[in-house]
């Protein structure tokens, strides 16, 4: 409602307009501008009922698309780029490149979706495909994440083996435990803490597998 307030204030009945938009919006921030653009245009045209329909019908669909685009494609891809640079010993360049890529993608998406949403107005419901985040970017980002996953595992196993067979044992064991824990939706932070505490205990009280 805060984002819409400048438009709502200018409507014929500002209090009624505010009342229309007191329901939860709860949208992904990358796709919210599309719904906001459409709603703002409809409110300016004094079509409050259409604005509410766009909020209730279009926004949840766009939000689901935005969540998949951001949290399963763009964000992990940029973070994987940054971390690969850190592992390769070029942290400044990698962190800078990842930040610029992510910020550029976000700002372009905000602008693009707001402009398109405002242009479509009440037609936003029929033209959701035009408002969705770019599928090609999502495919490329997911491919990059897959590449990073394969490269990390291969590089990590070789590096761990070079550091000592016990390092490769720890990494291999973590891959198995991590996969099982992820399938059972265990919180990764607690899985990590549990494994580290187990390793500390094994190292202090016995060392049957030659932990480093």
């Amino acid at each position: 409602m805060h984002a819409l307030l400048p438009v709502l204030r200018r409507s014929a009945d500002p209090v009624a307009a505010v009342q229309r938009h007191t329901a939860p919006f709860n949208s992904n921030t990358w796709t919210a501008p599309a719904a906001l653009g459409a709603i703002a245009r409809l409110e300016q045209e004094a079509r409050g009922a259409d604005a509410v329909r766009v909020r209730d019908l279009v926004s949840p669909v766009l939000s689901g698309m935005g969540d998949a685009y951001v949290f399963q494609a763009v964000r992990p891809a940029c973070i994987a780029l940054a971390l690969t640079g850190v592992f390769a010993g070029v942290p400044r360049a990698a962190l800078g490149a990842a930040f610029v890529l992510y910020a550029a993608a976000a700002l372009l998406q905000f602008r693009r979706s707001f402009v398109r949403g405002a242009a479509l107005g009440a037609d936003a419901g029929r033209a959701v495909a035009q408002l969705r985040p770019p599928a090609r970017v999502a495919r490329c980002a997911r491919g990059a994440v897959g590449l990073a996953a394969g490269a990390w595992i291969a590089w990590g196993l070789i590096r761990a083996w070079e550091a000592g067979p016990s390092g490769a044992f720890v990494l291999g064991g973590t891959l198995c435990v991590g996969y099982t824990a992820a399938r059972h939706q265990r919180a990764p932070g607690w899985v990590f803490a549990g494994l580290v505490l187990l390793a500390i205990l094994l190292r202090r009280f016995s060392n049957p597998v030659g932990l480093p």
Binding site: A80, L83, F192
Partner: protein, 228 residues
């Protein structure tokens, strides 16, 4: 603890909390970026990046949708950086085998969990305030919405500053306390392994061919000296 640490922690903590909870989240509240920034400001860039990178591996695929309450990754990075031992260096990936980072990373994970609970409590308070602000707005006081928005941002700012200060102040004491105990563990490989699994699952089964291509690239990277 360097003299700049508490001040830097409060300043950056406020910034990270705003980025994470109020603004559009442009990655700077992710652990690796938060650790790098905090480390750069306090003169411990290597420690910041290394702790942040390992914690980032743990939470690389955190979903922030619906009612999910993600851990405070930035707070974990700041806390772990403050508790990290001296003398860390990039050393082209060899630091992954370092054992001395385990206590600092555990401290970071604990702070992230506590920070998530603090944020959830604050969000509940803000939601109660939002109900009152909406009632006032409907009654004609449209400025109540703006006041709520600014108030919520200020509360998150204060939360970030205080949480970061506490994490740093207690983190240095924690590090001094556990140092004599010699709590060593291959935390680097464990975090790295969890990161690999999370990345593989995020890319999805449809991208399995990319895992194979990436694996070949990883072998070439290791053999031809990338990161060595």
């Amino acid at each position: 603890m360097t003299a700049a640490m508490p001040g830097a922690a409060m300043l950056l903590g406020a910034l990270f909390a705003l980025d994470d909870a109020v603004c559009v989240s442009l990655l700077i509240s992710e652990p690796v970026f938060a650790g790098a920034l905090f480390g750069a400001v306090t003169g411990r860039f290597e420690a910041g990046v290394l702790c942040g990178a390992l914690l980032q591996c743990v939470w690389i695929a955190t979903l922030r949708v619906g009612g999910v309450r993600p851990p405070e990754g930035w707070l974990a990075a700041v806390a772990a950086t403050s508790a990290a031992p001296a003398g860390l260096a990039f050393d082209h990936g060899a630091w992954l085998a370092s054992e001395s980072l385990a206590p600092a990373l555990l401290w970071g994970v604990a702070c992230a969990s506590a920070g998530a609970k603090l944020r959830a409590g604050l969000v509940r308070s803000i939601e109660r305030g939002a109900d009152r602000a909406v009632a006032r707005a409907v009654a004609g006081d449209l400025g109540a919405v703006n006041t709520l928005h600014r108030g919520a941002a200020a509360l998150h700012l204060v939360r970030g500053a205080l949480a970061a200060f506490l994490a740093v102040a207690l983190g240095t004491r924690f590090a001094a306390l556990v140092a004599p105990a010699g709590l060593l563990a291959p935390a680097g490989w464990i975090a790295f392994g969890l990161g690999c699994v999370a990345l593989g699952q995020t890319s999805g089964r449809g991208a399995r061919w990319t895992w194979g291509v990436g694996g070949l690239a990883g072998v070439a990277w290791a053999w031809w000296g990338g990161g060595s």
